[in-house]
């Protein structure tokens, strides 16, 4: 059976910390950073990268289109 591992790259400087991607992630991968970006927003980051399947839900819901999603078949 195919097994996928994913990874996302958030453009932290353009992220507005809206939290929508965090809520949309079915695997609990993302959370808002304690640190802020240049605009003062707590940007989204992969807190649990090992759980990412590359489903792209986070990318779809991001209003600012700052998430890039990758997915690799590891079997």
């Amino acid at each position: 059976m195919a097994k996928f591992r994913g990874a996302v790259v958030v453009d932290a400087e353009k992220c507005k910390g809206c939290d929508l991607c965090v809520v949309a992630c079915p695997a609990g991968v993302l959370s808002l950073a304690k640190e802020v970006n240049g605009k003062g927003y707590h940007y989204s980051e992969m807190a649990r990268p090992e759980a990412c399947t590359g489903c792209a839900n986070c990318g779809l819901v991001c209003p600012d289109a700052v998430i890039t999603v990758y997915r690799k078949n590891i079997q």
């Binding site: 507005k16 939290d19 819901v61 209003p63 600012d64 890039t68 990758y70 690799k72």
Partner: protein, 255 residues
């Protein structure tokens, strides 16, 4: 970043990234604003159907007044509410182009009611994208025609009162009654599934332009977290609980 993650972040594993039809400008919208998602979907459809050079947008007055900074296509800017009239002129002069308006509920259902009614009644071969967030976002959260009964806004501090303010206007259902509209639908962009459906509807609307099927009208029920004074996540929840019963999602007309 673990070694494994670095191994996954490679071009050949790419599944989702910002479409090139969106510019690199940072959108001025508040965090979580539905306008951003709707812009993205329109841009993706335009890019994926290869009509970037043939598409002309008409932007409104409202928070999306600067939409022309974000979608890398040709644009015209209309006076408040007049986008369907401007789009009529463009579409009649350039019948081979894909012409769409992008409008909020204050712009479309209040000051621009006459223009949208008559453009739809004439069956202009245009797409109308209508973002209904039940408020005037840009000017500080005043009541719109679509504001719900009891909804608190800066001009209805005790909630919308039908005796004083009338009823929420379901303008999409009204426009579906007109013989000029071919495709009328109501969508939302709060979940990945809703976003996929909304994108399909937008794609279909642009395809209808090619088939000269009359006016295609897409309402997107959206949030205005700043005007509603909620977090974006809470605003989505509030929308599902309060907006959807009044503004149910789905196709209203498809000929």
């Amino acid at each position: 970043m673990t070694v494994e993650t670095i191994d996954i972040i490679r071009e050949e594993n790419l599944v989702y990234r910002k479409t090139p039809a969106l510019t690199d400008n940072v959108m001025h919208y508040c965090p979580g604003c539905s306008h951003g998602v709707v812009h993205k979907l329109v841009a993706e459809v335009i890019e994926e159907t290869g009509i970037r050079e043939q598409t002309i947008g008409v932007s409104p007055v409202g928070c999306s007044v600067l939409a022309y900074n974000y979608l890398d296509i040709d644009w015209a800017e209309a006076a408040h509410g007049r986008a369907p009239a401007v789009a009529t002129g463009i579409s009649r002069l350039h019948p081979e182009k894909y012409v769409f308006t992008y409008q909020g509920d204050g712009d479309l259902a209040s000051i621009g009611t006459a223009e949208v009614m008559h453009a739809c009644n004439r069956g202009e071969n245009i797409v109308i994208i209508f973002v209904n967030n039940a408020i005037y976002g840009m000017t500080g959260g005043q009541m719109a025609p679509t504001t719900l009964v009891g909804q608190v806004t800066s001009t209805t501090p005790y909630g919308r009162d039908v005796k004083l303010n009338g009823f929420p206007m379901k303008i999409t259902e009204l426009l579906a009654q007109l013989d000029g509209t071919g495709f009328v639908t109501r969508q939302a962009v709060h979940t990945p599934l809703a976003i996929r459906k909304a994108k399909n509807a937008i794609r279909k609307a642009f395809e209808n332009t090619k088939k000269d099927k009359g006016t295609s009208f897409i309402e997107i029920v959206g949030t205005c977290s700043s005007g509603w004074k909620m977090t974006p996540v809470d605003a989505n929840r509030w929308m599902v609980e309060n907006m959807f019963p009044k503004y149910p999602l789905g196709d209203i007309k498809d000929i």
